[in-house]
Amino acid sequence: LAKTTQPISMDSYEGQEVNITCSHNNIATNDYITWYQQFPSQGPRFIIQGYKTKVTNEVASLFIPADRKSSTLSLPRVSLSDTAVYYCLVGSGGTDSWGKFQFGAGTQVVVTP
């Protein structure tokens, strides 16, 4: 599984856009990029997944450049409830792969009023 590198922490104010960039230089051709969110004492929660270019859902956008060696999770207009740890994961499909994600330390995002 490809190793990922992301900032340890980021601070933001309510209403701002938060962009978290993850580096994954050794991403394989069939790997997808997946982001999870985790609140204290809870299990991680899936946010978004993408392979290339841009993916958007109701909570976030994921930007992936052509070389796929990095990706950026964008959280629009954050609120206090977005304070959490965000994990960037890289892995390929299939029964044998998805379940064994390699979580790093994640990025602690703190949103203040």
Partner: protein
């Protein structure tokens, strides 16, 4: 539709004892993974079960074992507990769709004294 449920939510054991944690996957899911999350760290993959067999295993000693039942529920057993086994143990399930969306339970908080 119930999500992933885990039991017990909290438990305290002493060194050398054995513990069994239980997980019921989300309805319709057949693959279960277990993760260990120490305080302040990201989840670490322990193993994954599919069709009642261990399919993938992370870097954990044989003291960690598991089982999957015909109804897809799963157990995690840890023998000869060490202080370092104190952690949040997370169960995640996924279905047959080929995406990286894992559904995590709230976890079982194990404290070893």
């Amino acid at each position: 539709d119930a999500g992933v449920t885990q039991s017990p939510t909290h438990l305290i054991k002493t060194r050398g004892q054995q513990v069994t944690l239980r997980c019921s996957p989300k309805s319709g899911h057949d693959t279960v993974s277990w993760y260990q999350q120490a305080l302040g760290q990201g989840p670490q993959f322990i193993f994954q079960y599919y069709e009642e067999e261990e399919r993938q295993r992370g870097n954990f000693p044989d003291r960690f074992s598991g089982h999957q039942f015909p109804n897809y529920s799963s157990e995690l057993n840890v023998n000869a507990l060490l202080l370092g086994d104190s952690a949040l143990y997370l169960c995640a399930s996924r279905g047959a769709s080929n995406t990286g969306e894992l559904f995590f339970g709230e976890g079982s908080r194990l404290t070893v004294l």
